[in-house]
Amino acid sequence: MRWVDSITKEEWEKIDQVIGKYKGSHGALIPVLKEVQDICGYLPKKVQHRIADGLNLSSSQVYGVVSFYAFFTIVPRGKYIIRVCLGTACYVKGSKQILDTLQRELNVEVGGITKDRKFSLEAVRCLGACGLAPVMVVGHDTHGMLDPGKAIEIVRFYPSMETVMVKSEGDGIVDDR
């Protein structure tokens, strides 16, 4: 997770290693993009150029793939990624209102990042946790059975819990029932 727009020297080295690993193999582009995005958090233009050169593809081919798939992002992401599920089950149970409320609360558009770079707000299609609808995921934590009030409470809670959250990242699952 990062919010500085520049790529560090070590990151460039790691990127080159990934390219080297896949060079010459069939259908390498998507796995390379995935691994590189894991390294930098997003795929800025200069990184896309580097991948294109490394895999002997045109930059337009790389950009074509990056812009096609929802998994890839060309803008940096916030410290916590909020993903509100807009799958049918969640939508029927009011997840649109949760998304609207969060946009207002955080003053950010869907797909955008807050001014303090703490949160990215994303809408996703079905997280497959329909039994807990409506659902949102903040960082690695799944929150189910939400309403707009609860959603606001949850996002307000995160910045105040910075130190604790770092510790629990990865296994912190919060049930809001």
Binding site: H26, F68, A70, A89, T101, C130, L132, I173, D175
Partner: protein
């Protein structure tokens, strides 16, 4: 173990079988570790359970195992205690000491953790007696909640890889294909193409190498069948793929699975490693001389990649855009080579067909649709979860017997079947049988199996708009009807839900929808107008209410809601004030509530909270 002969395989099976068979006085706690239960803490429940059992010296007598998705996701975290099959639900780690004390020491089920039937309030201890499970027939999901998906031995003990061993030892590839043809199995991904025919075609082309692909790119919102199968019984899918490889003479398989399903990918990786270590993959499988290997390919998130040719482009590292057929994929698919692609559920059905024969499979179902179908039942029903029913079961049975009906005072309004390619069917069509052909007739589609139940607080126009928005978002942009046509339909729907629609909009939507259906290039475009067309067909009056009266009957479309309290209907209970996240509601005891419209953010929390429908 590097290689496994048939005899060694039989020995492993015997040993594994006795390992999962409980002796007198032993118990086995099956803790659900599907995505739903994990996100309500089931792994912490297991940890606590193991620790407490250990602490009390019970761990010899009471074993703990994790299972894949049990199916009854709404009741998670779930634990089933064998041998009897006592069903515990909504457990927390703090409940465990009491549960152990009562169940394992005093020998009586703990009533407060048992399932309660929502209407009769009766406690039902045994899983098999719960209506949700009673009407199901588990074929594709036969191992769910019974085996630990991360242990191949448990799968083998329950006949896992038995179909493969039969195919490799006593059947020719042609006989395998013939058996699948007799079974009448049709593709479970949505289109329903006969699987046997596809395999036959795949075998016919003498170009090598050939590929087998398992499509696990389950993009339908509100559907999680494939995820649950992969999480609960990954070996069934692998076995189906290997059998397919044998039948069509392919030696390489790929599983394309959504990156949003990390647990499914994790379990698949474990399953593939274990199958390889038993010699059930790679070279000379079971000493038969047949080679086959499988690789996992996590998708990158694009609904259109569920279309087979698009999926293959994606596997090749390109934009996933469907191409013109013919040639079919069975002739020229991945890297231009013959490729047989089937859905997760289709492959999961294959081992049992080979073991029991095609005739056994064909004995269940309707004329054109054989066997069973897995559905993800969600929305406003009591029992949300994953179900498997014989083809030909009516929607009514699914919603009211298995789903337990509509909660609270809500009334059934529609059932959405088939996701963004499907339709919303009204109460009058509840006796429709689920089979490929009768759903087609109703203007719906089997789809991959998402079933979303909607009550009277769901707006049909808004639902159509939701799916159209989805299709616009996910259209790959290759052909004009889908790219532009759907966008124009979305614009019209946006006008209607904001109160700017005209009566000409309805026939225009119908006409556009027909054109998009007829002239689009791939399955996505050909079915994308279904949600709009079906809601106009069955819920036209709602469109008219939006346009002519500027009113949203379900009070969903915020531009058509006044956010005003009707003081006659208001019972002065104050619930709306309590739920309002921005304190825009003024209320005092014995006085009707008042909404401050400057503060109100139109989130509809109050409307949902109000039991008296007093907010317009």
């Amino acid at each position: 173990m590097s290689q496994l002969t048939m005899e060694e395989f039989e020995k492993i099976k015997e040993k594994a079988y006795s390992a999962i068979t409980l002796k007198e006085g032993e118990f086995r706690c099956m803790v659900c570790a599907g995505t739903g239960c994990v996100s309500c803490n089931s792994l912490k429940v297991r940890e606590r359970l193991e620790a407490e059992l250990e602490g009390r010296g019970l761990s010899e007598r009471v074993k703990v195992a994790i299972t894949g998705c049990n199916g009854f996701c709404a009741e998670g975290p779930i634990m089933v205690v064998q041998p009897k099959g006592i069903f515990y639900r909504k457990l927390t780690p703090e409940d465990i000491p009491l549960l152990i004390e009562e169940h394992f020491l005093k020998g009586r089920p703990v009533e407060k953790f048992l399932y309660t039937e929502p209407t009769s309030k009766e406690k039902i201890p045994l899983m098999k007696d719960i209506p949700f499970f009673q009407h199901q027939v588990l074929w594709a999901l036969r191992n769910r909640g019974v085996i630990n998906p991360e242990n191949i031995d448990e799968s083998v003990a329950r006949d896992g890889y038995g179909g493969l061993s039969k195919a490799l030892t006593s059947m020719t590839p042609e006989e395998v294909i013939q058996e699948v043809k007799i079974s009448g199995l049709r593709g479970r991904g949505g289109a329903g193409f006969p699987t046997g025919l596809k395999w036959e075609e795949g075998r016919r082309y003498p170009t090598f190498p050939k590929y087998v692909i398992c499509n696990g790119d389950e993009g339908d919102p509100g559907a999680f069948m494939d995820r649950s199968i992969l999480e609960a019984d990954p070996h069934a899918v692998l076995e189906g793929m290997i059998i397919c490889g044998y039948a069509v003479d392919s030696h390489q398989g790929y599983i394309y699975v959504r990156a949003e399903y990390p647990l499914a990918i994790h379990r698949l990786r474990i399953a593939i490693d274990q199958a390889r270590s038993y010699g059930l993959l790679r070279k000379n499988i079971m000493g038969s001389g047949f080679d086959f290997d499988i690789h996992i390919y996590p998708g990158a998130g694009a609904f259109v990649c569920g279309e087979s040719t698009a999926l293959m482009y994606s596997l090749e590292g390109r934009r996933g855009m469907p191409r013109i057929k013919p040639p079919r994929s069975t002739e020229a698919g991945l890297w231009g080579q013959p490729t047989v692609l089937n859905n997760v559920e289709t492959f999961a059905n294959v081992p049992a067909i080979i073991r029991n024969g095609g005739g056994w499979f064909a004995s269940t179902g309707t004329g054109g649709s054989k066997g069973t179908k897995v559905f993800a039942l969600t929305g406003t029903v009591y029992n949300v979860g994953l179900i498997e029913v014989p083809m030909g079961t009516t929607l009514r049975r699914i919603v009211f017997d298995i789903g337990g009906g509509i909660p609270e005072k809500g009334e059934f309004k529609a059932i959405q079947i088939g996701g963004p390619s499907g339709a919303c069917l009204p109460a009058s069509l509840l006796d429709t049988e689920v089979d490929f052909d009768s759903l087609d007739e109703a203007g719906a589609m089997m789809g991959s199996g998402g079933l979303v139940v909607m009550n009277d607080s769901t707006c049909m126009v808004d639902t159509a708009r939701f799916f159209t928005d989805f299709s616009v978002d996910e259209s790959c942009g290759k052909c004009v009807p889908c790219r532009v046509g759907m966008k124009v339909m979305l614009n019209i729907l946006n006008r209607i839900v904001t109160g700017q629609g005209t009566m000409e909009d309805i026939p225009q939507l119908e006409e556009l929808g027909r054109h998009v259906k007829e002239s689009s290039h791939c399955g996505l475009g050909k079915t994308a107008p279904n949600p709009v067309l079906s809601t106009i067909r069955y819920f036209r009056e709602e469109y008219e209410a939006h346009i002519q009266e500027g009113r949203c009957p379900a009070r969903v479309c915020v531009d058509l809601i006044q956010f005003r309290v009707d003081s006659e209907r208001c019972k002065m209970c104050g619930l709306c004030k309590k739920i309002c996240p921005v304190e825009a509601i003024a209320w005092e005891k014995k006085a009707p509530a008042m909404i401050d419209r400057d503060k109100c953010i139109r989130c509809r929390s109050c409307i949902q909270a109000c039991k008296f429908k007093a907010i317009d």
